[in-house]
Symmetry: none
Subunit: 219 residues, 2 copies
């Protein structure tokens, strides 16, 4: 099977360096065409990652224990680094080879959310403000919850797949999980499997504010 990457490298070399003829991969069988998933653009990935970290080629080379020339050639896709040396190079960053190959650096997901941008659901006594509008492809759902005095998620206990956790920021909340009830105040926290029936009640006299998260997103 013909390797697309290697081929392109050769083309590149031929064009730039020498006229030395190139032996076609396997004289015999024709390649079954590009059925396999494309190999990510190692060079550009590395360059972007390096830039993000604010390192020069030499700086990274020193950290990684390779030469700056190697970094340069890899970034230009002039060579296909061995696993060993790619590992060395990535040792210059806190990232694994697997993550490096998977990470989508180009996709610009929304990162920052002004308070007013949080999506608010449930008005009245209980309000949830969600971080992020579409939870597509996200593993987490972060929330800013506010319970007015007397607010109550009700006697019909909640129950859904996933896990949830939170920290009380202000006021107090009475939380029941799987039959056990506790009152939490500012700084206290909870963590439970969302399949356990649960209920929140503000038994205090001021608004209760909780910052919580659940996975997977359930809104």
């Amino acid at each position: 099977m013909l390797n697309i990457l290697n081929t392109s490298i050769i083309v590149c070399r031929m064009a730039k360096d020498t006229n030395r003829p190139y032996r076609r991969a396997h004289g015999g069988e024709a390649p079954p065409a590009g059925l396999e998933a494309a190999l990510p653009d190692i060079g550009q990935r590395l360059r972007e990652l390096r830039m993000m970290h604010g390192h020069s080629q030499r700086e990274l080379a020193k950290r990684a224990g390779v030469t700056n020339g190697t970094i340069s050639l890899i970034e230009q896709n002039r060579i296909s680094p061995s696993i060993g040396s790619l590992k060395k190079v990535l040792d210059g960053f806190p990232i694994s080879i697997a993550d490096f190959l998977t990470l989508d650096l180009r996709h610009k997901a929304k990162v920052f959310y002004a308070a007013k941008e949080l999506r608010e659901i449930g008005s009245g006594a209980i309000s949830f403000k969600l971080v992020g509008r579409d939870t597509q492809g996200r593993a987490l759902q972060m929330m800013h919850e506010r319970y007015q005095p007397g607010a109550d998620t009700g006697p019909d206990m909640l129950s859904h797949t996933g896990e949830e956790s939170g920290i009380v920021v202000a006021g107090l909340i009475e939380l029941t999980v799987g039959g056990e009830t506790r009152t939490l105040t500012s700084g206290d926290a909870y963590y439970f499997d969302s399949r356990l029936p649960h209920r929140y009640r503000n038994t205090g006299t001021i608004d209760c504010v909780i910052v919580s998260a659940c996975t997977p997103p359930s809104f």
Copy 2:
């Protein structure tokens, strides 16, 4: 930096094949010792995967478009395959390089946490209070973070697998993610892929408090 893998390869070659002398990686500096994460045992992984699929080396070689010798050498860790050829080999299976490298080598939980029970790590300018002592089997890690004025996670950007999100509860924080920088204040929020290099800095004059969550737990 000396590459452990390559070294062992050489040793192996020397012992079995020839007595040809081996030039030590870099005459100069001594290796800073095994600080970096171990490179997964490519050879054994490949062998196991191949066995699971019931292929012989030659059979896989044919599918992959490499020679059986290459498979053999890789499985013995005699060579560190190039990304390109590892890709080719894995094209013989329905698995990506990243998955291949990651592939796994095979009650009543505590719900309520008083503020004092939160496990505190990092005492100085930055302190994290974690919900839950052992994150074993948990999908989420909830945290109460406090940054003193001037606190900074440092120019060596953080980067790790997972996703993280948070809401600023008090003060302000300057957050850099994947090259983009923003200053968030109380009520603002963020969400990003933790593999993107990121950095937190309290550029304000009072303590900044953030309640955040990440998945999977990374402490």
